[in-house]
Amino acid sequence: MLDDVLYLAQQTINALQQGSIYALIALGYTMVYGVLTMINFAHGDLFMLGAFACMLLAGLLMPIMAGFPPVLVFMVILLLVMLIIGVLGASIERLAYRPLRAAPRVSAIITALGCGLLIESLTLVIFPYSKSMPTLFKNTTFELIKFANPQDPNSPITLTVTVLQLIIICVSLALMVALDFLIRKTRYGMAMRAIAFDARTVPLMGIPVDRIISMTFLIGAGLGGAAGMLYGLAYPVIAPSMGILVGWKAFIAAVVGGIGSIRGAVLGGFILGAVEVIAVVAFDSSYRDLISYSLLLVILIFKPYGLLGQAPNQKV
C-alpha cells in the first residue's frame, strides 16, 4: 500500500519534470499563433538548437568560469542560450515570415516547415552523430522519504528527487510566471493581446505591430531554447532529430490546451507529461506516441478548439 503511494508520488515528480519542459516549448507555439495565427513549425528545431547551444557554450564557458559556483555558470549559460535562440527566432521571423504576411496563410506555414527542415538538416551536417551533454553541476539525489522494506531489508522504499529535477521544475515555473506577468501587466503584453484580438485595428492605434511580433518571436524562441537546454540536461544524449520528436509533441500540448491561449499551453504541457508517464507505466514505452496522439484526436473531436481555446469568428 505504502509503496504504491510512494511509487505514484515518484511518477508525479517525473510527470512534472516532463510536463514543464513540454509546457515551455508549447508556450512558444501558442504565442506565435496568438499574434500571427500561424503555426511556427520551426519552433521544435529552435528547441533542439537550444540543447546544442548549451553544449557548445558549456564547452566554452566551463574552463573560463571554473572558479565560480556552478549555479552562476548554469544561470549564465541559460541566459545566453535564451538570448541566442531568441535572436535566431526573431531573425527567422524577420527574414522568412514577414515578407509573407500578406501572402496566403498556407505559404507561411510551408515556409515555417521549410525553415524547420533547414535548421534540422544543417545541424545534421555539422553534427552527424548524437552528442553527449556535459554535466553542469553535480546531480545529487535527495531521499525525501525512506522506509525499510518489510520483504527485502536491503532495498528500502524511497521517494527521491534529484537536483536536476528540482532545477528543471523551478526554472520552468519561474519562466512561466514571468511570462504570465509580462503578458498581463506590461504595455508590451497588452499590445500582444491586442494584436491577437484584432490584428487589423491595432496598427491604427499607433502600436508598432512589427516590433511587437519580433518581440513575441524573441521571447517564444527564447523559452524554447531554455526548454532545449533543460531537456538536454535531463536526457544527456542530444541529436538533431529531437527537434521533431519532442517539438511536435509540445505542439500537441499547445493544441490540447487551446492554441493561442497561454495558460492553455501550460495546462496542455502538464497534461501531456502526465499522459506520457501513465502510458509508460501502464502499458509500454513503445505505446507512448500512440496514446498521446490518440488523446489529441479525442480531445479535438469533443473540444475542437482545445481545452481553453476560443473558436474564431468566421466571416464571409
Partner: protein
C-alpha cells in the same frame, strides 16, 4: 530603376514561357502519343536493356512520386486544405498490399494489381474516416488532425508484431515494374483530371475559395470533401503499394519527413496544377538522387529545404501554380480559355 528593369525582364520571360506553353498545348495529339510512347517504352524495357537498373529505380520512384504529388494536390491544392498525413495513407497502402502478397496469397504475381487496389481501398476507407473528423475543424486544425493521424498510424505499425513491428516487413516480392508504375500514373492522372473538371471539381475549388460562400451557393461541402479525401487517400495508398513492392518497408520511412518531402514536391511544382505536380515530382526526385550520387547525402535536405523557402518567398504558388498545361485540360476548357 534597377528594380524596374528586373521586373520587366521577369515579365518578358514569363510571357515567353506562357506563349510557348500555349502554342505547344494547343494541339491535342501530343499527350496520347506521349502516353502510348511511354507505355511501349516501359514494356520494351522489360525485354530490351534500354535503362540500367539504377535508372529504372529512379524512373519508378519518379512515377510513385507523381502519384503521391497529384493525389495530395487534390486536397492541398484544389481544395486548399493543409494535410500533412499523406505518408500515413502511403504506409496504409504499403502495409495492406504487402501483407496481401506476402502472407495471404504469396507467390501469385498475377494478383499484384488486386493487391495494389486493395491497398488503395484500405487507405481510402481510413481517408473517409479522417474526412468525417475533418468536418469538425478547418485550416490549421486539419493539419493537426492529419499530423496526429500520421503519428498514430506509424506508431501502430511499430506495435503490431504481425507486420514486423519496428523492424518492418521484410521479404516483399519486387513486383513493381516500370509498366505497372506507368499504368498507375496514367490512371491517377486520368481520374484526378476528370474529377477536377467535373461538377465535384468545381465544388472542391469553390470550397478553396470560400467555404461559407460556397455553402450558400448550394455546394454540398460534406460530399465534396469526403470525395476529395477518398480519392486522394486511395491514390496515396496505391503509391504506397507500389513502393512496398520495390523496397522492403520500415515504419520509420513513413514519418513526417516523408510527408514533408511530398509537400515540397507539390508546392515546388505548383498547387492546383497537374502539370506542376509532374514537374515537381521529376525535379525533386532527380535532384534527390543526383545530390546523393554526388556524395552530398547530408546536404540534400539542406538544399531542398532552402529551395522550398526561396520558392515560397518569391513564387508562393510554386513553379506552375494555378496554371495548367493545356494538354491536361478537357477540350471544352481549352475552347473557353482561348476565347477569353
Amino acid at each position: 530603376m534597377c528594380k524596374c528593369r528586373q521586373r520587366t525582364a521577369a515579365s518578358t520571360l514569363r510571357r515567353l514561357v506562357n506563349s510557348f506553353l500555349a502554342s505547344v498545348g494547343r494541339s491535342r495529339w501530343p499527350l496520347p502519343t506521349l502516353v502510348a510512347l511511354g507505355f511501349s517504352l516501359a514494356v520494351l524495357s522489360r525485354y530490351v536493356p534500354i535503362f540500367s537498373g539504377y535508372t529504372q529505380i529512379i524512373l519508378i520512384t519518379i512515377g510513385i512520386n507523381i502519384i503521391l504529388c497529384v493525389s495530395l494536390n487534390l486536397v492541398n491544392g484544389y481544395m486548399g486544405e493543409f494535410s500533412v498525413g499523406h505518408a500515413g495513407f502511403m504506409s496504409l497502402g504499403a502495409y495492406t498490399a504487402a501483407v496481401f502478397t506476402t502472407k495471404w496469397l504469396p507467390d501469385t504475381p498475377a494478383l499484384f494489381p488486386v493487391a495494389v487496389i486493395f491497398g488503395g481501398a484500405m487507405a481510402a476507407i481510413i481517408g473517409f474516416l479522417l474526412a468525417l473528423l475533418s468536418f469538425k475543424t478547418r485550416g490549421d486544425y486539419l493539419a493537426i488532425i492529419t499530423l496526429a493521424f500520421l503519428m498514430i498510424v506509424k506508431s501502430a505499425w511499430e506495435n503490431i508484431p504481425y507486420v514486423g513491428g519496428p523492424a518492418g516487413l521484410l521479404g516483399v516480392d519486387k513486383y513493381t515494374t516500370l509498366p505497372w508504375t506507368f499504368f498507375w500514373v496514367v490512371v491517377t492522372m486520368l481520374v484526378i483530371r476528370n474529377l477536377v473538371y467535373s461538377k465535384f471539381g468545381r465544388a472542391i475549388i469553390a470550397i478553396r475559395e470560400d467555404e461559407i460562400a460556397a455553402n450558400a451557393m448550394g455546394v454540398r461541402i460534406r460530399e465534396a470533401k469526403i470525395l476529395a479525401f477518398i480519392v486522394s487517400s486511395f491514390f496515396g495508398g496505391v503509391a504506397g503499394a507500389l513502393y512496398a513492392h520495390l523496397n522492403f518497408i520500415n515504419p520509420k520511412y513513413f514519418d513526417i519527413v516523408k510527408s514533408t518531402e511530398i509537400l515540397v514536391m507539390v508546392y515546388l511544382g505548383g498547387i492546383s496544377s497537374l502539370g506542376g505536380s509532374i514537374l515537381g515530382a521529376v525535379v525533386f526526385t532527380v535532384l534527390f538522387y543526383q545530390l546523393e550520387s554526388m556524395g552530398l547525402g547530408y546536404w540534400r535536405m539542406v538544399i531542398l529545404s532552402s529551395l522550398l523557402i526561396l520558392l515560397m518567398l518569391f513564387r508562393p504558388r510554386g513553379i506552375m501554380g494555378m496554371k495548367e498545361l493545356a494538354w491536361f485540360l478537357p477540350g471544352r476548357e481549352l475552347f473557353t480559355r482561348r476565347k477569353s
